[in-house]
């Protein structure tokens, strides 16, 4: 087989692999829809407001409930003590009504 045909075959395999992954992704997202609904039900039942990702500080545990003086509210220049704060972007001044 010539080099050009081998390259075309290789590229097609890559495209097929990627397309397969995308199709698998859509299938998995649809399959896990029930899981998402159960999580939403949990949020509603327990009246939760935030994701339990960063537990190192109050304002990283509950970014949406944090007071004004945090990196997530109206103070973009507030100094960060915790690494998690550095991956959370400040909101644009005036972008919230709070």
């Amino acid at each position: 087989m010539s080099k050009s045909k081998r390259f075309i075959c290789f590229t097609l395999i890559e495209i097929l692999a990627l397309a397969g992954m995308c199709a698998y992704g859509r299938h998995m997202a649809a399959r896990r829809d029930a899981e998402v609904r159960a999580k939403r039900e949990l949020v509603r039942a327990l009246a939760l407001t935030d994701l339990a990702i960063w537990t190192e500080a109050r304002y990283t545990r509950h970014p949406s409930q944090a007071d004004f003086f945090t990196a997530f509210q109206d103070f973009p220049s507030s100094l960060e003590h915790f690494p998690a704060g550095s991956i959370m972007g400040p909101s644009k001044p005036g972008s919230t009504a709070r």
Partner: protein, 385 residues
């Protein structure tokens, strides 16, 4: 068609002559795209999941602020808020934080009073009486507990209190419950030694979603020391939190971009003497300028398309099959209790096309332009250098 295939054949042979250099370029290029695409896939997945599950949050959460800090809400305000037209149920929420000295981790304690329907994501049941609790999988893991065991915590009076674990939240709900301990409402009030008629905040139900902001404004006017937080603000907060432009993610993204720019700059600033010589020979043996440009186009496309596809596949595998193991360490920060991510593969094809357009096109252009300059020069002078 046959002519194009022959030029592609020649391009592949030409690339094969410098295979070490080209392989290195493909690997660096693929790594750059993988890093960039990983960040985008991860943040898109988290943002989508957050938006979907936080759609169940209360319409309004009302907090009290005192001297710029959270203060407990006076529960006598419940009736005043309920009297606002359009407002449904107003429920005080009781919750707080607990630092666990045994494991050096922070737990979130939540008090429940009303009968909660059976939860699919809970093994066991929620606390139904005093001295009972349900815990998140992360808490159960660090304290080596399971349903039926007892867990001891130190309360607000510095006295050890023992609770029986009646349920453990399933690992699927870790993103919401990993650090959570659910107690009965009275147990929580006694545990934190909360004053009478005080709650952490209120959750407010608004019948008409279009009236949420109006109700929030009325609450703010009626109780000036409070801060109403709407559901859309909660969702928007997470949109900002996971925004791909933010902080550390941006650093990773910039590093990848800078590495790619150096690579592209190296190609754009000129072609090597050997490559110039090759173009000169091709011109001398009868190749036209368009043929030379097509050759260079194929060379650029072979490298960039291969790297782009390999990079995307690597990013997908990294994020959705390996739980973004490399980026998760960056995300983790100083959290002791950190949920294991099980990203749902929500894909934004537009995002993938944008990555493709912004990486493949400039590279191909950078390969063609210097070759075009050489190709329009007299072959004799090119070969003589």
């Amino acid at each position: 068609m046959h002519r194009h295939l022959k030029i592609l054949e020649y391009a592949l042979t030409s690339l094969g002559r410098r295979w070490k250099k080209n392989l290195a370029i493909i690997l660096v290029y693929a790594f750059t795209i993988a890093a960039l695409a990983s960040v985008l896939l991860l943040t898109h997945s988290l943002k989508t999941e957050a938006a979907l599950i936080l759609a169940g949050t209360p319409d309004l959460v009302v907090q009290r602020l005192s001297a710029g800090r959270h203060e407990l809400m006076d529960t006598t305000s419940v009736d005043r808020i309920r009297a606002i037209p359009g407002v449904g149920q107003v429920a005080p929420r009781y919750w707080g934080y607990y630092y666990d000295g045994l494991t050096d981790s922070n737990f979130t304690l939540l008090g429940l009073d009303s009968a909660v329907p059976e939860l699919r994501l809970l093994d066991g049941r929620l606390p139904a009486g005093p001295g009972e609790c349900a815990v998140g999988a992360g808490v159960a893991e660090v304290r080596h507990n399971r349903a039926g065991d007892e867990i001891s915590l130190i309360d607000g009076r510095n006295i050890g209190v023992i609770f029986e674990i009646t349920g453990v939240f399933k690992a699927e709900s870790n993103i919401l419950t990993n650090d959570l301990i659910v107690l009965g409402q009275q147990d929580l009030i006694e545990f934190f030694n909360l004053p009478a008629e005080r709650a952490t905040d209120f959750s407010v139900q608004v019948h008409n979603p279009a009236e949420v902001n109006t109700v929030a404004a009325k609450i703010k006017k009626m109780l000036p020391d409070t801060r109403p937080i709407t559901r859309s603000e909660i969702v928007r907060t997470y949109d900002a939190v996971f925004n791909w432009r933010s902080g550390m993610m941006l650093t990773i993204f910039s590093s990848a971009l800078i590495a790619f720019c150096i690579l592209a700059w190296d190609k754009a600033t000129g072609i090597s003497a050997e490559e110039k010589h090759e173009v000169g020979i091709l011109k001398a043996i009868g190749w036209d300028t368009p043929d030379v440009l097509e050759l260079k186009f194929w060379e650029g496309l072979v490298i960039s398309l291969t790297a782009f596809l390999l990079g995307l596949i690597a990013a997908y595998v990294h994020v959705f099959f390996c739980g973004a193991s490399v980026l998760a360490t960056v995300l983790k920060g100083w959290s002791v209790l950190f949920p294991e991510f099980r990203f749902i593969p929500y894909l934004d094809l537009y995002q993938l096309f944008v990555i493709g357009f912004l990486t493949v096109t400039p590279y191909v252009a950078c390969t063609i332009i210097p070759s075009w300059r050489t190709a329009i020069t007299d072959p004799d002078s090119v070969m003589r250098g």
